[in-house]
């Protein structure tokens, strides 16, 4: 039988290698929060061919309307994306009218999002609450489901540690995406994040359930071997469910699903993969580490498992 667990410190190092770069990028560039959480406006407009005005011209136009923080980027389709602080509908209308007059072009509003500053703050705090409630619900649920196993709450805690790992991976991806593809953390990102949390737990439960079952069947087996045995038994399912089905569906969505869902499906893709990975290579090893109280012998262990 494959020995997965003995290389556990190698997996921990690998996870850090994935998580750290993105988090470093995030800490340098700051959290790329969208107007969903900060409040503000996003106006995407399309001009007639050849009549798209200069960026400076539009910035001036915004300044005339009393908005002095307009930032303009052009998109692949040739439209202009203007981000600014909160615009009321009256200000937006007057800006659009001036735009039409100055450019002598028909101006089509492709998209307009405007979120008041107070509502953004409330959404952000409610989002944090939602994630916290989800984590708490998970600990309670798993502890209850595994109540007949010795040290039931360890399973709950390990599931949450692995969940934090998955959340960190998702944020790391968001950090990389923000740096290279101008991604933003918006309501849809939050949806993806909570889904990753849900499915991450689902995955832990499948592995833990096997440990639960085996601990009744194979009472005499050493704990590390028991867990390793359980992982190997569920490995085929993990590969088939995650790689072959869910990831394929999401990959199709990311590749062919159009721009709107791209960021969403890439985050789900990576996050759900991380969820499966962390059940095998994070949650289960930590269970063993905890059982053996390995922190007492950490320095010795490191020498043994040096890569």
């Amino acid at each position: 039988m494959i020995d997965i667990l003995s290389k556990r410190y190698f997996y921990f190092a690998f996870s850090l290698l994935v998580i750290l770069p993105g988090l470093v990028l995030l800490s340098i560039g700051g959290l790329p929060l969208s107007i969903d959480f900060t409040g503000g406006s996003l106006l995407e407009v399309q001009f007639e061919a050849g009549k798209t005005p200069e960026t400076a011209e539009l910035v001036n136009l915004y300044e005339d309307a009393g908005i002095d923080d307009a930032q303009i980027t052009s998109t692949d389709t040739g439209s202009l994306m203007i981000r600014s602080s909160f615009l009321t509908n009256e200000v937006r209308d007057s800006i659009l009218t001036t735009m039409r007059e100055k450019t002598a072009s028909e101006v089509t509003v492709v998209r307009f999002d405007s979120v008041g500053p107070s509502i953004g703050k409330q959404v952000a705090s409610r989002a944090a609450l939602a994630v916290a409630v989800a984590a708490l619900a998970v600990i309670i649920y798993i502890t209850a489901a595994f109540r007949k196993v010795p040290n039931a709450f360890r399973y709950g805690i390990c599931a949450v540690i692995a969940m934090v790992h998955d959340v960190a991976v998702v944020f790391s991806i968001a950090g990389i995406g923000a740096m290279f593809f101008d991604w933003q953390i918006d309501a849809l990102f939050l949806t993806a994040l909570l889904t990753v949390i849900g499915f991450s737990v689902q995955d832990k439960v499948v592995v833990f359930d096997r440990i639960r079952e085996n601990s009744n069947l194979l009472r005499k087996l050493e704990y590390e071997k028991l867990v390793n045995h359980s992982i190997v038994q569920t490995l085929q399912r993990s590969i088939n469910t995650q790689l072959m089905t869910v990831e394929f569906l999401l990959l199709a969505l990311a590749l062919f699903g159009g721009i709107t869902l791209q960021e969403f499906s890439v985050i789900l893709l990576v996050g759900l993969f991380s969820g499966t990975y962390s059940s095998i290579f994070v949650a289960a090893p930590i269970l063993v580490l905890w059982e053996k109280r390995e922190w007492t012998t950490w320095f010795k262990r490191k020498e043994e498992t040096a890569i």
Partner: protein, 453 residues
């Protein structure tokens, strides 16, 4: 393997027929064959979300200090008023919902002319009956009143003297309003009926202030300043003036729908151009289809005979889930499609868990009947526990989405949660039944090969 196979088959076929019926019709009509009466009818027209067909979404918030408690009944009245007001615009399929305890979300799919809707919602103001004594303020001018003094700070262009008039009652006391012609049939009058509270206030006021002006203001703006001709005691009265049919109706609408119990302000506006949506819908559906075909091929190649069964069972799942979504008028959104695909993944996961278990049992030398029984009974706890955790997080997501009228988040979590529930049924019930049918109708001599071991 299964005791009541016939009952199971009948039930599954029944569900499938019902699901397909719903899937492929735009309206369900059940007609009594004897009397030709319509017994039951249910509209099934699919509803596309704003991200797919473009449109306008606004989030309105009660414009009162944050610590003020808001009565949920008043919120519901405000919602109804916004609904009626915007219905009168002739916009199709507008949906107005209360979101959380102090917000209302309005959606206007396919709407191009966003300005008029925004205008009419914002205009949906507070109607007041104001005692202006001997003065008849000019129509269209703005006056100050003592009702809800906090919000009057924003009123512009007040009367020169800045007199604060007393508000006798608000539009909330109006029970009904109707337009009719006067006794001569030459000019129009507006008849109104007051609530019992309103009738009392009105009777006292009109008795004490006959021949004085009673000014009607909407959002502090004067609509009309009729003179009180005589005391009105029965809670019924009429307003006469030089009304044409149109102006009388317009006035009646303002009276009827202008009485918001709570002032509202727009805190969020989202406009999605129609071109963005249509493109995304086709692409996402195509992507979903491609993904499904690849996954189906994988299942069949890897799991052989059970794989075929799983694909059939997933098709039944898709038909059932789609029918349920259609029946309950789920709005189809892009994240909703993603949620549906993910729940299909969960449905497949249940099948895979069972099949992997069955393979183990077969390798351990059990016969086929034991294999099927063990495969299901052993996989069940982990299927149940793992899916429950997905449902719990979906519910938390749904709660989050509904407090802020984030319909996209709501759509995703609802399709995911319901999809996972339905997938539990198909994995446990349908897959097993189909597998037993397959095993009984074909005699497989080399089970290992058929199970892909």
């Amino acid at each position: 393997m299964i005791r009541n196979l016939t009952t199971r088959i009948i039930l599954i076929v029944l569900i499938l027929i019902l699901a397909l019926w719903v899937d492929f019709s735009s309206e369900i009509n059940v007609i009594n064959p004897v009397t030709d009466e319509t017994l039951f009818t249910h509209d099934l027209a699919p509803r596309l979300g704003l991200d797919l067909q473009g449109g306008l979404q606004v989030l309105l918030e009660a414009d009162v200090p944050a610590e003020t408690e808001i009565d949920s009944a008043q919120m519901e009245i405000a919602r109804e008023i916004v609904q009626q007001r915007t219905d009168a615009l002739g916009v199709n399929e507008n949906v107005i919902q209360v979101a959380g305890d102090r917000r209302i979300v309005g959606e206007f799919p396919g709407l191009e002319d966003t300005e008029s809707v925004l205008e009419i919602i914002q205009q949906t103001g507070l109607l007041e009956f104001v005692d202006t004594g001997d003065v008849a303020p000019e129509e269209g001018s703005t006056i100050l009143t003592d009702f809800n003094a906090a919000s009057t700070a924003t009123a512009e262009g007040t009367t020169p003297e800045d007199t604060v008039y007393h508000t006798i009652m608000t539009g909330a006391e109006l029970e009904s309003v109707a337009v009719s012609t006067d006794t001569l049939g030459t000019s129009y009058v507006i008849n109104f009926v007051l609530t019992s509270d309103g009738a009392e206030i009105f009777a006292d006021h009109t008795a004490a202030n006959t021949k004085k002006f009673l000014t009607i203001v909407l959002d502090k703006q004067v609509i009309s300043s009729p003179v009180i001709n005589e005391p009105i005691s029965g809670g019924q009265g009429s307003i006469s003036g030089n009304f044409t049919y149109e102006s009388a109706n317009a006035f009646a609408i303002q009276l009827r729908y202008g009485s918001l119990p709570i002032p509202l302000k727009i805190v969020e506006t989202r406009i999605i151009g129609p071109t963005l949506g249509a493109d995304s819908l086709n692409k996402s559906l195509m992507a979903g289809l491609i993904g499904m075909v690849i996954v189906a091929l994988f299942m069949i190649i890897y799991y052989r005979m059970p794989g075929v069964v799983a694909v059939l069972s997933i098709l039944i799942y898709a038909a059932t889930a789609f029918a349920v979504f259609k029946w309950f008028h789920f709005t189809l959104t892009l994240p909703g499609i993603a949620g549906f695909l993910l729940s299909t993944g969960a449905a497949l996961d249940a099948n895979i868990l069972i099949f992997e278990r069955m393979k183990e049992e077969l390798r351990n030398g059990r016969n086929i009947s034991q294999t099927v029984d063990q495969g299901w009974s052993r996989a069940w706890p982990s299927i149940r526990d793992s899916n429950l955790s997905a449902i719990i997080t979906s519910l938390i997501l749904f709660w989050f989405g509904s407090t802020f009228g984030a319909t996209i988040v709501k759509g995703f979590s609802l399709t995911l949660a319901l999809g996972v529930l339905i997938s539990l049924f198909t994995a446990i019930y349908v897959t097993r039944t189909l597998l037993v049918i397959f095993l009984k109708s074909f005699k497989f001599d080399n089970l290992e090969r058929w199970f892909g071991i």
